[in-house]
Structures are given as structure tokens and as C-alpha cells.
């Protein structure tokens, strides 16, 4: 366990050192994050220039949700997507052999190898607009609520990790799967609105297939004080369920790998 954590730390340190060579990229990323953020806030302002509430969420509650969404999508770009892209490349070129021969759990290895450090700016940006929204709502956030928010956010990350890795496992069978990710990205962008707003069939997709309902909506519900502990419990069960499913599928996928170079 300690070795697993220290390995992740080393990969992270390497990524930081690597990216610090390209400092200009920091400013480019800053500019691009600002563009994306301003666009999102403009849309928010547009919607609420025509109405006071959207599906029971007022402007700043929805801004808080947007903050949570921004954080989670950034986590995907910081770590999940680059790691999975590398995994897919390794499977196709046979480099996955090198992962299997190392004395560390293969799933853990392929999950920590890549870190896009500059993308962390979006995590900060998401937390900032969420903080701004909570402040404007003028509600007291208790320590308990903040802690619960942290837990639900981590569970949300776990859920997205499991779903993204499950799609990545398709690479053990199929060759071109970039469009599958594009489809899931598009579906995931539905997380910008509270899931309760969608019609039934979309809600089913967003709950069971791409569980944005649990990943984004639940943490946002915690921070806007509209959730009970039972929902958080369900979220935890869903997260564990997806992680368990991933473990089973991962083991099964490994048996499919024959090594392109062997």
C-alpha cells in the first residue's frame, strides 16, 4: 500500500518537473480556462435573464453546480483521459507488456502514469466559481456540510474514474474507440444542469450508464443544502459498485491481451 502511494507520488513529481519546462503553456492554459469559464457564466446569465429559477434551482445554486461540474471534468482531463489514451496506445503497440511485467498491480499502474499538471487550473477555477456562488447565496456552510461535500466529490471522482476506465477496457477488443469517448463526453456535458430537469429516458441514461446524477448533482446538492444522508449513502454504494464492476471487467480484459509484440 505504501509502495503504491509512493509510486503515484513519483509519477506526479516527474510530470510536474516535465511540465515546468514549458512555462508558456501555463499562460496559454490560463487563457483557455478563462475563455471556457466566461462562456459558461455568460450562458448562465443569459438563461437567468429570462427566468428566475430553472427546475427549482436559482442562479447561484446553478452556478455552484457548474463549479462542481467544472472541477470533475477537469479531473478527467488532468488524469483519467491522458492515462486511458496512453493505455490504449500501449495495448495497440504491445507496450502494455512492460506494465504487466512490473511488480505492481497493473490497474493501479495504468491509472497513475500520466498527469497533465497545467489542467489543474480548471480545478481551481471550478472551486472558485463554486465558492463565489456559495458566498453570494449567503448561507452558512457548517464544517459538517463542507466535510460531506468533500466526501461526495471524491465519490463522484471515483464513479467517473470507473466509468471512463470501463470504456477504456473496450480497447482490449476493438481498435477505434475515440468516438466512444466523444459520445460519452457529450453525454457527460449534460451534467451542467441538475439531472432532475431532464425527461425520463435521459435521466435513466444519466443515472445508470453515465452516472452524472451521482457524480455531479449529488455534491452540488450537498453544497446547496438540498440533500439527505440517504442519497449520499446511495452515491457511496453506486461508487463501490462501479469500482467493483471495473475490477471484474479489468481482470477479464487482461485475459484477452495477447501482446502485439509477442
Amino acid at each position: 500500500m505504501r509502495r503504491a502511494v509512493s509510486l503515484a507520488w513519483h509519477y506526479f513529481r516527474l510530470a510536474v518537473m516535465n511540465e515546468l519546462q514549458y512555462r508558456m503553456n501555463f499562460f496559454i492554459q490560463l487563457l483557455e480556462s478563462a475563455i471556457a469559464l466566461v462562456t459558461a457564466l455568460v450562458v448562465l446569465a443569459l438563461v437567468y435573464s429570462h427566468t428566475d429559477t430553472l427546475g427549482g434551482w436559482n442562479r447561484y445554486e446553478l452556478q455552484a453546480l457548474l463549479g462542481v461540474y467544472t472541477v470533475l471534468m477537469a479531473v478527467i482531463r488532468v488524469s483519467m483521459q491522458p492515462n486511458i489514451d496512453r493505455l490504449i496506445g500501449d495495448i495497440h503497440q504491445g507496450n502494455f507488456d512492460f506494465v504487466l511485467t512490473k511488480p505492481m498491480d497493473a490497474q493501479w499502474q495504468v491509472s497513475i502514469r500520466e498527469v497533465r499538471v497545467w489542467q489543474l487550473i480548471d480545478v481551481v477555477a471550478g472551486l472558485l466559481i463554486m465558492g463565489d456562488a456559495v458566498w453570494r447565496l449567503g448561507r452558512q456552510i457548517s464544517l459538517w456540510q463542507a466535510g460531506l461535500f468533500g466526501v461526495t466529490l471524491l465519490l463522484g471522482i471515483a464513479i467517473l474514474y470507473a466509468v471512463w476506465m470501463l470504456i477504456g477496457c473496450i480497447a482490449f477488443w476493438a481498435i477505434r474507440i475515440d468516438n466512444v469517448f466523444e459520445l460519452f463526453d457529450n453525454v457527460a456535458s449534460a451534467g451542467r444542469l441538475p439531472v432532475t430537469i431532464y425527461p425520463g429516458w435521459m435521466r435513466i441514461i444519466l443515472t445508470y450508464i453515465v452516472p452524472m446524477a451521482f457524480a455531479v448533482t449529488v455534491p452540488a446538492e450537498v453544497i446547496t443544502a438540498r440533500v439527505d444522508l440517504a442519497t449520499v449513502g446511495v452515491q457511496a454504494v453506486v461508487a463501490l459498485g462501479f469500482l467493483g464492476l471495473l475490477r471484474v471487467v479489468w481482470r477479464w480484459s487482461l485475459t484477452q491481451y495477447s501482446g502485439a509484440s509477442a
Binding site: M24, I28, L31, E32, I35, A36, V38, T39, V42, V43, L46, V47, S49, H50, T51, T53, L54, G55, R176, N179, V180, E182, L183, D185, N186, V187, S189, A190, R192, L193, I197, Y198, P199, M202
Partner: protein, 267 residues
């Protein structure tokens, strides 16, 4: 001219056949593309129903029509992005293209026409399904439908040339992704992709009329949902042609100036 035409037909046929090979990939791609407007539609339908059935002159049925037409117009709005062009210049892939007998632009355009044909074929069942289930308000007038098709093709050509010309910036610097993203962010808001133009504040609408974005996206949609009068449609088609031709002139100029600076990487 005749030779050019036959090159286009050959290239388009070949590319169409290549693209039709990847059926599942195409399907996933199209499904993803339909999901995006569904989110906007749900959002504005919720707003409209909270405001008593309509928002800024858009009823729920016309909003539905807007976002269904959106899926087809989005198809025809795909162009060779500057990012694609950046990769060509940075990795030197442009060099072999320069050796071909025709200007690279022609090969790209033929390729993208093929994509539009394949995309539209795939779109038809989805479009019919959406119309069937969602009961949108669309114009049934054959003249309007004809003019819609004309403006659809023009929106493709106009945006293709514009975005291609934008890609020429790569000849001067390869650090342009922030510039391109800014362009696309402004386009997203002002073109009508995110919201129908009528829902923007009045001053923004005025600005949008003087920029190209609206004419390549929101304009054809507004035709088919019956928001525009005949004279408005004809004026708009004229504006589309003007933007397309203007962009072509600027592109020719930028290309001639830029290609001199191109030092083939990897040659």
C-alpha cells in the same frame, strides 16, 4: 474548369466510400452530436414552460424545431479546423500536399463534401425520428424548404473558407490554440448554436448581424422554422455569399503570403 469538376467528383466518391466503411464509428459520432442540442432544448423548454409557454417569441414547438434543425446544420458546419492545419504545418505534412497538381484546398473541400454526404445519410433516420417523437414546428412550404437547402450548402461553403483562412495564422506562429479557442467561444454564443439569436440581449443581436457567425448557423435554422420573411431570407443568402467570397479573397492573399514563410518541417 471541367477538369476541376471531375477531380471533385472522383475525390468525393472515393472519400465517401472510405467513410462508409466505419459504420459503428459514424453512428457513435452522430449520437454524440445529437445529444448536445438535447441539453440546450431541455434547458430552454424548461424556461419557456416556466414563462407560460414561450420565451422571446419562441414557443416550445418552435424551440423543438430549432434544435432539430440544429442537428442537420451542425453537420454542415464541420470544417477543417485550424487545429488540423496547425498539425500539418508543425509536422511538415503540408509538404507532400504542395506537390500535388491542385491547390490543397480543393482536396480538403472535396473530402469534407464527402463527409457531409455520409453525415446527411446517417442523419436522415435520426432526424425523422426526432420529428416524429418531438412534434416540432417546421415550415412545410416547398419554397422555404428549397431556400433552406440553398442556405445550408452556402453556410457550409462560407464557414469552410472562413475557418480555412483562419488556419493560415499557423504560418506565422504555431502557438495559436488560444486564439482559435477564443474564436470558437465567440462563435458558440453569437452563431445561435447555444441559444436562438432572439434570446440574446438586443445589442448582442445587432453585433451578431455584422459578424459572420450567425449567417453560417442560426440563419438556415430560422428559415426552416418559419421565422423569416422571403425578403429576409434572400437578403441573408446574399450576406452568406458576400462573406464566403470575401473570405475567399482574404484566404488567397494570406495563403500566398504565408506559403513563402513555410519552411517544411521534416523535409
Amino acid at each position: 474548369m471541367q477538369q476541376l469538376f471531375s477531380v471533385y467528383t472522383k475525390m468525393t466518391t472515393t472519400s465517401t466510400q472510405v467513410m462508409l466503411q466505419y459504420r459503428l464509428t459514424n453512428l457513435f459520432w452522430l449520437l454524440g452530436m445529437v445529444f448536445e442540442p438535447l441539453i440546450y432544448l431541455v434547458m430552454w423548454r424548461t424556461v419557456a414552460s416556466q414563462q407560460g409557454g414561450s420565451v422571446a417569441g419562441y414557443s416550445i414547438a418552435s424551440l423543438t424545431g430549432y434544435y432539430i434543425a440544429w442537428t442537420l446544420v451542425r453537420q454542415w458546419n464541420i470544417a477543417l479546423t485550424p487545429f488540423g492545419f496547425e498539425q500539418r504545418v508543425r509536422q511538415g505534412q503540408l509538404t507532400p500536399l504542395l506537390l500535388r497538381p491542385l491547390h490543397p484546398f480543393h482536396y480538403d473541400l472535396a473530402d469534407f463534401i464527402a463527409l457531409r454526404i455520409v453525415g446527411t445519410l446517417y442523419w436522415i433516420p435520426i432526424g425523422v425520428g426526432l420529428v416524429w417523437f418531438l412534434h416540432p414546428q417546421l415550415s412545410g412550404d416547398p419554397l422555404v424548404i428549397g431556400l433552406f437547402c440553398v442556405s445550408l450548402v452556402l453556410s457550409f461553403l462560407m464557414r469552410f473558407v472562413l475557418v480555412y483562412a483562419l488556419g493560415m495564422a499557423v504560418f506565422w506562429t504555431t502557438r495559436v490554440s488560444a486564439l482559435f479557442n477564443l474564436y470558437f467561444a465567440v462563435e458558440t454564443i453569437l452563431s445561435g448554436r447555444l441559444v436562438p439569436q432572439a434570446l440574446l440581449p438586443a445589442w448582442t443581436q445587432t453585433i451578431a448581424n455584422f459578424l459572420p457567425f450567425r449567417w453560417s448557423f442560426g440563419f438556415p435554422i430560422e428559415i426552416i422554422i418559419g421565422k423569416l420573411s422571403l425578403s429576409q431570407i434572400l437578403t441573408g443568402i446574399g450576406i452568406q455569399c458576400a462573406w464566403g467570397l470575401g473570405a475567399a479573397v482574404v484566404f488567397g492573399w494570406l495563403w500566398r503570403a504565408g506559403i513563402k514563410r513555410y519552411s517544411a518541417v521534416g523535409a
